[in-house]
């Protein structure tokens, strides 16, 4: 599936819920399925700056596709990073660089998009894209 198709699937899943509580509960559930980062990568260099909770992300290239793993000490943040990784992991660096993240708004998590929000969703997206740019340079 393309990034857009995955994002549409996520939007579909979230559209089943009528209130924020169900959406948050689902997000927390998604957090539990997050591909966890190997302990050896859970180091300060892999921390995303600008988050009130700690978020570690690691990326590696697997057959021209980028695979992400991550973890967070806060469960909501873990849910958010899980959603992003689900949309981006297994895609080519170029597609990740070009992808937009408007679907976050559509699943009713718009408040997390504000750059001042302490969980730093914006920083997370930026970090994932930075990895993509770095690996794209390698591929070139």
């Amino acid at each position: 599936m393309t990034i857009k198709e995955i994002q549409d699937t996520i939007v579909d899943e979230f559209s089943m819920f009528d209130d924020w509580m169900q959406r948050y509960e689902y997000m927390i559930e998604l957090g539990k399925s997050l591909p966890l980062i190997d302990d050896k990568y859970k180091v300060d260099e892999n921390l995303i700056k600008g988050c009130q909770s700690k978020v570690w992300v690691h990326a590696e290239l697997d057959d021209d596709k980028l695979k992400f793993t991550a973890d967070s000490d806060a469960i909501i943040t873990k849910g958010i990073i899980a959603i992003l990784i689900r949309a981006f992991s297994g895609q080519s660096p170029k597609d990740i660089i070009d992808a937009d993240t408007a679907f976050i708004d559509e699943i009713g998590l718009k408040e997390h998009l504000s750059p001042t929000r302490a969980n730093g969703l914006v920083s997370m997206v930026k970090q994932l894209k930075m990895y993509a740019i770095a690996y794209q340079t390698q591929l070139n």
Binding site: W20, M21, Y24, E25, I28, Q52, S53, K54, D73, A74, I75, I76, T77, A118, N119
Partner: protein, 405 residues
């Protein structure tokens, strides 16, 4: 006695809904809400007599000057300073601390010692660290115990003839501890050191008598005590203010300027370079009037009741809760965590339920390091909060725990 119904009518923002719920505002230690009396002072200024102060001969300028200086006198009376010119208008507590730290640069020698309490806000740590870098002075820390109280015996041992200045908050923003500043000041003076008290958190709860305290510097922010943001006060004893060089150069702070030599204006203008926040200063005065109208004894008693009620319910009804800051003498702040749950998660769910609290390190990372935690959830109560709001807060915490555990 607090007439809570009529008080709440003074605060238009309390009628707001947040995420579909009536707002429960429990982030008062970060900033207080603004009563319509203060809002009126602000609109009054811009509607009727907005003008630059001190030099204009026209009527508006004179009216604005009069009101601004009247606000200074209100602060003088409120804090019982000896003279109005000992009240310096600042942009807030941080500005006040930086002003003093800058002034002390000229008064320190390498090897001089500064004492800081372990429970300071970053704003009362960093300016002094910068001062130490500049002068070769040494920063020493007065430790605290598990309850969040300063270890006074260690403080006594740290004081020496090398100590130049001690700085400490009146009330800790992260823990709510009310520090024994009378004792701290007396002991510092006995050792020949000056004292700066960060009164930002105390000003909304306690009416400090600065002459009785005999404190050298005391600094507050208007926005913690029902005033606007961006304005505050530094009190300094006249002798210190005369000794310290100006902080910033510019208009307003001069007597005579030639390219060869400039002489400085007298107090308080020596420390008030440039056009100040005239409207903010006047509104600050209105805020102090408003709070005095309610009365600080009534405020303290009422807030204490809320604190006891909230603490009791939290401890009894929330499993795995731990409160940080359990000093005998504390104000209406509850800093807490729930076992196994990140404070950020609790704050995010509470926000969805219309309850505003603060999460994180509260600009006091050394305290978080002491307890070895990433941060806390902090609920801080003001005199316009109610028992019903405490109930909403407890229910919201229960709901958050259910969702997150």
């Amino acid at each position: 006695m607090i007439d809570i119904k009529s008080i709440r009518e003074d605060f238009p923002i309390l009628n707001r809904k947040v995420n579909g719920y009536p707002l429960v505002y429990l982030d008062n230690a970060a900033t207080s809400q603004t009563p319509k009396q203060v809002i009126k002072a602000i609109t009054d200024y811009y509607t009727n007599y907005n003008a630059n102060i001190h030099r204009g001969v026209h009527t508006l300028s004179q009216e604005a000057t009069e009101k601004y200086e009247e606000a200074r006198q209100k602060l003088q009376r409120h804090f019982n300073a000896a003279h109005p010119y000992e009240i310096i208008f600042t942009s807030g507590t941080t500005h006040g601390i930086n002003l003093v730290a800058n002034g002390f640069a000229a008064l320190l020698q390498p090897g001089d010692e500064l004492l800081v309490s372990a429970m300071e806000h970053h704003s009362n740590i960093v300016p002094w660290q910068m001062l130490c870098e500049k002068t070769g002075a040494v920063l020493k820390v007065i430790p605290m115990n598990e309850k969040g109280e300063l270890e006074m015996e260690v403080y006594e041992q740290l004081l020496s003839d090398k100590t130049r200045i001690v700085f400490c908050n009146h009330i800790s923003n992260a823990l709510g501890t009310i520090n024994p500043i009378e004792k701290i000041i007396k002991m510092a003076h006995d050792a020949g050191a000056a004292v700066l008290i960060d009164g930002a958190q105390a000003a909304p709860h306690i009416k400090a008598d600065l002459q009785a305290l005999d404190v050298d510097f005391y600094t507050v922010s208007a926005h913690k005590m029902c005033g606007p943001t961006g304005v505050g006060m530094l009190y300094g004893k006249e002798s210190w203010l005369r000794k310290m060089p100006p902080y910033q150069g510019g208009g307003e702070m001069i007597a005579e300027v030639t390219f060869e030599k400039t002489t400085y204006a007298d107090l308080p203008h020596k420390f008030e370079a440039g056009t100040p926040d005239i409207c903010g200063g006047i509104a600050f005065g209105a805020a102090v009037d408003y709070m005095n109208g309610i009365g600080f004894d009534a405020i303290a008693a009422y807030e204490h009741e809320l604190l006891d009620y909230a603490t009791g319910r939290l401890l009894k009804e929330i499993e795995g809760v731990k409160i940080y800051g359990t000093a005998e003498n504390k104000t209406s702040v509850i800093s807490f965590n729930i076992e196994g749950i990140h404070p950020y998660d609790i704050g995010a769910i509470l926000d969805k339920l219309g309850v505003a609290v603060r999460t994180g390190h509260h600009c006091a990372q050394p305290i978080m390091d002491y307890y070895k935690i990433p941060g806390t959830v902090r609920a801080s109560f003001a005199f316009y909060n109610t028992r019903e709001e405490v109930d909403r807060f407890i229910e919201a915490v229960q709901k958050a725990q259910m969702m997150l555990a």
